[in-house]
């Protein structure tokens, strides 16, 4: 046999279904080689690139989802901020309203107090005036009584009195008048 050559043999043995011999071993070896070759070709040409493509796409979509989520969070934050501001505005409004109410109430109280004190003043003045008027009237009445009495005394004196009696009577009346209790 010449070593290292390969050639076709003319005699082809009959086919079979199953056998355990050297040919089976050789067949197993050839099929192993075929399978390994096919596996390498399929995984490098088909499986890996498509998987890579799919994974890249999944990552891209995930990244987009993440970005959208971040924007959503930002918008939420902004919304919260605005809501807080709105709350603040409401509170401020309430404060201002309350302050105004308080000021108005104070002013009203003040005015009321002023008016009351004014009224009290006026009343006091009126009372004083009345007192003075009354005193003045008493004084006048007393003077008129004195005048009438002196006129009556003069007339009586001119009719029936001599000079000595007149002097005595005059002195007596005067003393009486002075001792009279006109004042209350």
């Amino acid at each position: 046999m010449n070593v290292g050559t390969a050639f076709l043999l003319a005699a082809i043995p009959d086919g079979r279904v199953f056998g355990l011999d050297q040919q089976a071993l050789i067949s197993i070896g050839i099929q192993l080689f075929n399978a390994a070759l096919l596996s390498a070709v399929l995984s490098y040409v088909l499986y890996k690139p498509v998987r890579k493509f799919l994974r890249n796409r999944t990552e891209r979509i995930n990244a987009q989802l993440g970005r959208a989520e971040g924007e959503m969070a930002k918008a939420d934050e902004l919304k919260l901020q605005y809501e807080q501001q709105l709350d603040n505005v409401e509170q401020e409004r309430l404060e201002i309203l309350e302050a105004a109410h308080r000021a108005a109430a104070e002013k009203g109280k003040q005015m009321l107090a002023d008016a009351q004190s004014d009224a009290a003043d006026t009343r006091a003045r009126a009372l004083t005036d009345i007192q003075a008027e009354r005193e003045r009237a008493q004084e006048e009445i007393r003077r008129q009584i004195i005048e009438v009495a002196s006129m009556m005394a003069e007339k009586y004196v001119t009719q029936a009195m001599d000079a000595a009696t007149q002097d005595r009577l005059f002195a007596e009346t005067l003393a009486e008048l002075e001792g009279a209790a006109w004042q209350e």
Binding site: F7, I26, I28, Q31, V50, F53
Partner: protein
């Protein structure tokens, strides 16, 4: 009634007789088909859009569902096993469907099924030793040392049962179909075998493909993590 694996040529390589069988020929046809498909997809990948339509949708659905399947079976850690099992999946599936076009499925030859199962067997051992080191070797002597022969034979039986499961189902389909085609008269051959083709090629083929991948991945993941069955 012809369900033998025909020999197409006989090579003589350095004094060793090598039979080039129908299985190998069909394997190469399927390989060519898949490679062409892969190249077409690779070329079209550049024009793939963000929102998939039509052809792109189909490719994405296949790859994504396979990805999910591997992920659900072995988890995140062993996703690189997907590279090999994607080939197993597509190859076994296409070879089962090849029966529809009169192509003898390569999986109906024990050598193909055993070659695939042998890789699974090798992966089980390698992954077990890499990920669990001494504990994996120790698991052969559990629960007692005298159980070693039992465990050892059980381990060896795995690729055999795995390969014979695939081979037996595919061969049953081939034998049954060739018997039916030999039995019925020629004017009935158009309609009647369609239902049987549907069962033996489509249903059984898809199911066996799925079971082969699931069992292999389950064996590997359980050998490389604690609590091997």
């Amino acid at each position: 009634m012809d369900f033998n694996i025909k020999n197409l040529w006989v090579l003589d390589i350095a004094g060793v007789e090598v039979w080039i069988t129908e299985t190998m020929m069909n394997t190469w046809i399927i390989m060519l088909l898949l490679t062409m498909l892969a190249v077409i997809v690779r070329v079209k990948l550049r024009t793939f859009k963000q929102v998939p339509t039509g052809f792109q949708n189909a490719i994405e659905a296949i790859i994504e569902s396979f990805d999910n399947f591997v992920h659900n079976t072995v988890g995140d850690k062993f996703m690189y096993l997907g590279n090999w099992f994607f080939m197993v999946f597509t190859f076994v599936l296409i070879s089962s469907l090849g029966g529809l076009f009169g192509l003898r499925p390569p999986t109906a030859d024990w050598t193909t099924a055993f070659a695939l199962a042998l890789v699974t067997f090798g992966m089980i051992q390698v992954m077990g030793i890499i990920h669990r080191k001494g504990k994996y070797l120790k698991s052969f002597f559990e629960p007692y040392v005298i159980f070693f022969p039992l465990n050892f034979i059980g381990e060896l039986a795995r690729p055999i049962s795995l390969s014979f499961r695939l081979f037996g189902n595919a061969l049953a389909g081939v034998i049954f179909m060739s018997l039916i085609y030999g039995l019925i008269p020629i004017y009935l051959r158009f309609a009647l075998p369609a239902a049987l083709h549907f069962y033996f090629d489509l249903f059984s083929g898809v199911l066996q493909t799925y079971i082969f991948c699931v069992l292999s991945l389950t064996f590997i993941s359980s050998a490389s993590s604690a609590g091997a069955p």
